[in-house]
Point group: C2
Chain length 208, copies 2
DNA sequence: TATAATATTAAACGGTGTTAAATTTGTTGA
DNA sequence: TCAACAAATTTAACACCGTTTAATATTATA
């Protein structure tokens, strides 16, 4: 309520202004064409002002990443139906993840392939312990735990499996995005269907 | 033998000079730090000369891609032992592909993630018919054909499977490269081992 | 209202890819 | 051998880029 808070709020508003300008540019011209100068001119300020609200350009990009990543996670939760069997859950989850990612292919690509250390920290999924720190992996691991409830499988094995499913799915999605002009819709849905079949078969109890 | 041929040869030599300078920079400073001016200064010419031998910087990058891609393929063939059973072949092939790719991670990343249309044409693997046009997929599909020799599986299914293995493996490799600072050697080999197990289990006859 | 803090800008630095025109170098034919 | 032509190479510029420093304008505070 004091002026301190207002200041803080105004500062955030300006940051949002900058971020949304950057997001606009990303949508219109792609991630690589975001430039500090373009952002500045779009919000009708001088380029230098950007550095009053962000450390550097990378920090702006990082913010865009985080938002994109969150978007994927949000679209995921609605795919879980408690009534489903574990195997079915796994299929639906994977299917949904692929669908949501393909719907926002530009953002997905940007988020997942950006190689700045700060962003990688947010997208990394292969390090030990990722299945408890990464929401998407967490739900996946939970799904696998149900799948293996009658088997004697240690947790590190489940984590590995979750990470592998994530990495494989990531690979399929990125390739589908990159080759979108070369792959027909039919081929695409064949691939997705087949992928889910193969992946689930690969991790189903008894095969491990 | 006429001067025409010599001219042609000399031109190629200069192109090679430029390319190897670019490759050096890529090795030392990473793909993103290749610049026309740096190449020029390294070969002790003025920047403009580059454009006498290449259309633009992208063309230079494209050449680096093609070479990198070839390198992967070359390292692959030696992994095939005719005495192995199909399942074993598949495992070794995948293992080798991952190893070779990780050994040249910068190049792999560059080759596989470059999004210029010209390069995508060389790396694409999901379009219908890819398994006969792409050497790496061809050997993979052949491997699968052996694996399914006693089963009644149509060829389009084999192609789909090959493409899926390729895309999944691609995903694992890219993530391992991107997260190399976060993943320990132990975790890495666990992942690779587990990945091969899961993948092979997923495509083994009877599970499909 | 004066002072201190904050917001904003102008201007520059060093970097980038690329191009047009001028210049040097090399080749060829008379 | 020399002039004419063609090829190779450079100079210089254009239009961008990210970033920093110092000066200026604006706002808040005492």
């Amino acid at each position: 309520m004091g002026p301190k808070e207002r200041k803080e709020r105004e500062r955030k508003e300006r940051q949002e202004l900058i971020l949304s300008a950057a997001a606009e540019i990303m949508k219109e011209e792609g991630i690589d064409n975001i430039s500090v100068r373009k952002i500045a001119s779009r919000i009708e300020y001088s380029p230098a002002i950007i550095y009053h609200y962000f450390k550097d350009k990378d920090e702006i990009i990082s913010h865009l990443m985080k938002k994109g990543y969150q978007k994927i996670l949000d679209g995921l939760s609605s795919a879980l139906d408690p009534k489903d069997k574990p195997e079915e859950k796994l299929k639906k989850l994977t299917q949904r993840y692929i669908e949501v990612s393909l719907q926002m292919s530009d953002e997905y690509r940007t988020v997942q392939l950006n190689s700045s250390p700060e962003v990688i920290e947010h997208t990394a999924s292969l390090f030990k312990g990722a299945s408890v720190k990464k929401p998407a992996l967490k739900v996946l691991a939970q799904c696998l735990r149900e799948l293996y409830k009658d088997n004697d499988i240690d947790d590190s094995s489940i984590e590995l499996t979750a990470q592998i499913i994530a990495a494989s799915t990531f690979g399929l999605i990125i390739r589908l995005i990159m080759e979108k002009d070369l792959v027909t819709e039919e081929q695409k849905s064949n691939l997705i269907e087949h992928f889910i079949k193969v992946t689930v078969n690969g991790v189903v109890p008894g095969n491990l």
